[in-house]
Symmetry: C3
Subunit: 125 residues, 3 copies
């Protein structure tokens, strides 16, 4: 099994609903977005997939969240913008162009700080 | 599958038994303790579990080892305090309150330096 | 399941073939090599395996690539030296002495920068 990893970052504000103490106040993080794609086989050119292309996709989604209030971003507005939910959002955004290419799975991790992240992993197909 | 990660650190002394060269002398590390909890589903509030609660538990166990000689800590005294054994100790300490909450697994990694860690992963249930 | 991790680094040049844009020019990276060995049980001395021994092996393979042009290293010359292929090379170099010791798997990750890595994982036995 091979894997390829790309990271990007974005600065965003958010606030949690339903009683998470100080996290209920509007605050923000320097988010780090980590993405791992796994698959069984390398192509003839020695790649699992083109890291440059993956990097563009990951940096694109990070840029779409950069200097935003996550609670106002379409697809996140109305949800509780926990790190889990932001990971979900990024997973759903990144997975469609990765399907049908013989890849096994996609994992997304959303770091709110160097001490905390939440992630989602799921099969591609 | 979702996951939530929390890290903490502690400063501790120890020495290894049974011939590990310089590691047989009393020395110490700035340990980094990393904890990952995995589970299939998010609760209605968009969390796998409350990161704040997990953070308290992880920081609590780190605090209990901070500025200690690990070879004198109850539960570790008499054992060979390898990073694997310290990971075991933390896993056993952290897992009980995480059981019975629909979570799948708990992983603990104990870093002795930025170049070395040992970890333990096991199912919750 | 237990795991043990060791990291090392090396400085090397390379260039990609077959149209990877600027990566087709000779350039280089401060590579970080991460190695994880997994297994079910600890030995009586509280170790999965001797981290010192693993560290020697990992630092040995990193030293063999340090200040080299990867495209001229025996075993890599003639291949497209993507991070996946370098991970393959390290996996193949590290795995033989780890077999037959009751270990479950070996994972190798080759970081080209703090934003990008490729890795290979496979069973030992």
């Amino acid at each position: 099994m091979y894997e390829v990893y790309v990271a990007a970052s974005f600065e965003a504000a958010h606030r949690l609903q339903r009683g998470f103490g100080p996290a209920s106040r509007t605050h923000g993080h320097t988010y780090r977005l980590e993405v791992v794609v796994r698959g069984e086989d390398l192509a003839e050119d020695g790649t699992l997939l083109d890291i440059g292309q993956l990097r563009e996709a990951v940096e694109g989604i990070a840029a779409s969240l950069d200097y935003r209030d996550l609670d106002e971003v379409p697809g996140l507005a109305g949800k509780n913008t926990t790190a889990e939910v932001v990971a979900d959002f990024c997973w759903e955004g990144l997975s469609p162009p990765l399907r049908g290419r013989g890849l096994a799975s996609l994992a997304v991790r959303v770091w709110e700080s160097p001490q905390v992240y939440a992630g989602r992993e799921g099969t591609l197909g």
